[in-house]
Amino acid sequence: MSTATESRVRIQKEDFSVTDEIEHMKKVSANIGGIVVFLGTGRESSKGETITKLHFEHYPQMAEKKLEELRQKAIKDFGIIDMSIVHRVGEIDIGENIVLIVACGEHRQEAFKACEWAISELKRTTPIWKRETTSKGDVWVSPTP
């Protein structure tokens, strides 16, 4: 399991510690009064099919660049203090962590809004793809709203 580092956006194969990531972000500023966390995890079923495994692929460098752009925009547009984003790639089992977004604000309102916006925007703009393994074979997933 990798530990939180100075980098605010990361794409990695290893699992992450939600607690470590939050604790790391709490140290960014003494003015943080609200932290909203989104944790995406591997789900067992999709469209009636049982999923046995997930695989995530990304476009190295471009994906990290998009995540950093997203982070900067979240800070600017929602007035939050900071945000960290970690996304895993490679093979991921059901129930395992996939993606974590930690939005830190002075107050809860901007942190909630920024966090919800960030996960939607990540799915729309970041070159990461998901493949599901089911009893019928492997399927690359189409975007979900």
Binding site: H58, Y59, M62, I98, L122, P127, W129, R131
Partner: protein
């Protein structure tokens, strides 16, 4: 040479991760799609029908974008990262 990278479903369709094309000093996405179509007709058609996004040197571009010798082009199927 122009390097073309395939991702996700396109990588499966192409049967490879990347290709290289010599299309002179300057070309367009449309001309590149025709070159790709010679070996992978379905992929060339998907590019022309805008079913996949195209990036040049990691910036998403429009179909009429100019591509230069030495550029890295990526064909990007609809993204599906995150969870839920």
């Amino acid at each position: 040479m122009i390097k073309v990278k395939y991702f996700a479903s396109l990588k499966t369709m192409a049967g490879k991760e990347e290709d290289r094309f010599d299309l002179g000093r300057e070309t367009t996405v449309l001309k590149l799609s025709e070159a790709i179509g010679k070996t992978s007709p379905a992929i060339g058609e998907m590019v022309r029908e805008k079913k996949v996004m195209v990036s040049v040197n990691q910036d998403v571009v429009l179909p009429d974008a100019v591509i230069h010798d030495g550029d890295e082009v990526a064909l990007l199927p609809p993204f599906s990262g995150g969870a839920i």
